[in-house]
């Protein structure tokens, strides 16, 4: 299957620069997935994103959108068909929330009725209070502005959504909330999303695959969050991921997605976790309660199995025998 987005040997050197901003980068991003570009400042992640909507032109290499080289598309047309969310939202201060959201549909010449219906629909989709539609951006909180930014980017229902550090300007609580909303939104709209972030935890939480970039736009590793945490390809990746990789892998894996043990003979006095909870929660309960295992319960609360430390350990591929040789 043709990936939604394919970068082939993309390089960028800015005029006057002595080194590449992005070097020979090749990535395939399947349709309907979230790809995170992460790395420290100067790793070319934002430059890479900006090459996808041609705010920056690559020095060499090519970028295909659904099999078509983006250079063959009209640049404004390409951008109107590509959602773009940036840090601080970049809302137009002189236009109301409704007018901000309606920007691209209006550019595309939709009639008023259709624009209005779409705006109403989007307000629901991103969880905005319809009361806010008549307000100006300066009257909104940071989180509300970011929701408007997402609604504006999704207005013309683009297949591709580019997000550049979308949550770095909001406080951690709002950020976590917006991230949950994005995951929820993605379950409903299934866009191909490219997310630039310097926050590895944000990438691990939101992305289906993560490209870790080093200074100069060198790709260190391109893998799923679990794979990245399990087997960092280089000391750079290992350092970038930080500590407690096993615990963070447990946080990524829901209890119900892998093998669990049998229901314990005595369930009284044992803590319970649901099948939807992450494995980390099961481990937390074992440590907190000082017990051998926890009871896994289904949505209706009835026991469906048990989880002990060994099973949890094996679930992330760390059998005791393997640990000895490591």
């Amino acid at each position: 299957m043709v990936p939604a987005l394919r970068l082939v040997a993309v390089s960028k050197r800015f005029p006057g620069a002595r080194t590449d901003a992005v070097a020979d980068l090749s990535l395939d991003m399947p349709e309907g997935t979230v790809t995170a570009l992460v790395g420290p400042s100067g790793c070319g992640k934002t430059t890479t994103l900006r090459m996808i909507n041609r705010l920056v032109e690559p020095t060499s290499g090519s970028i295909d959108l659904f099999g078509t080289d983006i250079r063959q598309l009209d640049v404004h047309e390409l951008r109107r068909r590509t959602g773009y969310v940036i840090q601080q939202a970049g809302l137009f201060p002189h236009r109301t929330v409704a007018a901000n959201i309606a920007t691209v549909p209006q550019l595309l010449g939709w009639d008023k009725q259709r624009v209005r219906e779409r705006v109403d629909q989007l307000v629901g989709l991103v969880g905005l209070d319809p009361e806010l539609l008549g307000r100006y951006p300066a009257e909104l909180s940071g989180g509300q502005q970011q929701r408007v930014g997402v609604a504006r980017a999704l207005a013309a229902d683009p297949p591709l959504l580019l997000m550049d550090e979308p949550y770095s300007a909001v406080d951690p609580i709002v950020r976590a909330h917006l991230q949950d909303e994005l995951l929820d939104l993605q379950r409903r709209v299934r866009k191909t999303i490219v997310l630039v972030t310097h926050d590895i935890d944000e990438a691990l939480k939101l992305a289906d695959q993560i490209a870790v970039l080093n200074i100069g736009g060198v790709l260190e590793q391109f893998a799923t969050p679990d794979e990245l945490l399990r087997a960092p390809a280089s000391p750079f990746v290992e350092q970038f991921l930080g500590r407690e990789r096993a615990l963070r892998r447990l946080a990524l894996q829901p209890v119900g997605t892998g093998p669990i043990g049998p229901v314990p003979e005595v369930v009284e006095g044992l803590p319970t976790v649901t099948t939807g909870a992450p494995l980390r929660e099961a481990l937390d309960a074992i440590v907190a309660w000082g017990v051998e295992q926890v009871v896994v319960v289904g949505d209706d609360g009835s026991p469906v199995g048990g989880l002990d430390l060994l099973t949890i350990t094996e679930r992330i591929g760390n059998a005791p025998s393997r640990r000895d040789t490591a």
Binding site: L55, R79, R80, I86, Q88, A89, T103, V104, A138, E139
Partner: protein, 231 residues
């Protein structure tokens, strides 16, 4: 009737027709000067924003022009273009350039980078970005420039009157020649009234053009400052 009185209302009564004509002339010279000055300044500002070199030249020349005393400039111009509206307008337009060019540039440069980035990334073409985003957001700075330019021009038109181009300046000129205070007071007073009236009109226009600046309820962290009027 007291001959020593500061202002002879009787004289005013008898010269209403002339006052009306002078008002029209004064207003016409001012509006043409600011209008032409604005169009020219807009072009020069856009040129300056596009090319760094142009900017130094434009602001340098406009600054130089601004330092020439008005009476001297008009006197020199009269020897080239004679006693004509053209003479008056060349000088008047010249004086508006510095203020207007600088305010237009500052206004457009004050547009937050994130807003520019979003506009470009959403596929607004350059003309649309200029008209629908840059110039709209620069409106407070531009109107601030227009207000200064207008008030300055109303004052300068009084000077062109002194060299015989109509407007309120001709009353002051005559009054001075005849040592007749009424004409001086009428000329000067009406200039001030016109300056204030035009300024109010521009304030009103700005209020209509920038509704987003009025609503300050729930103002929170936008992440950047809204461009504020300079004057």
């Amino acid at each position: 009737m007291n001959a020593d009185s500061f202002i002879w209302w009787d004289w005013v009564d008898r010269h209403l027709g002339e006052i009306r004509t002078a008002t029209y002339e004064h207003l016409r010279l001012t509006v043409i000067a600011v209008g032409l000055g604005f169009v020219l300044s807009l072009a020069l500002a856009l040129l300056s924003l596009r090319w760094r070199a142009a900017r130094a030249i434009v602001t340098g020349l406009a600054g130089l022009l601004y330092t020439i005393p008005s009476l001297a400039l008009f006197a020199v111009l009269v020897t080239i273009t004679g006693f004509s509206t053209l003479t008056a307008e060349i000088g008047l337009v010249g004086y508006t350039l510095l203020i207007l060019v600088r305010n237009i540039i500052e206004g457009i440069e004050g547009v937050p980078a994130a807003v520019r980035e979003a506009a470009e990334g959403m596929g607004l073409n350059p003309l649309r970005r200029l008209v629908a985003v840059d110039l709209r957001l620069a409106t407070p700075a531009i109107v601030a420039g227009l207000r200064i330019a207008t008030v300055t021009t109303v004052g300068l038109v009084t000077v062109t009157g002194l060299i015989g181009m109509g407007g309120y300046g001709s009353f002051i000129d005559e009054g001075l020649k005849r040592s007749f205070s009424t004409e001086i007071v009428v000329g000067a007073g009406l200039s001030v009234v016109m300056a204030m009236a035009l300024d109010s009109v521009l304030v009103g226009i700005q209020r209509v053009l920038t509704p987003w600046q009025r609503s300050s309820r729930h103002r929170t962290n936008l992440g950047y400052e809204l461009p504020k009027p300079i004057a």
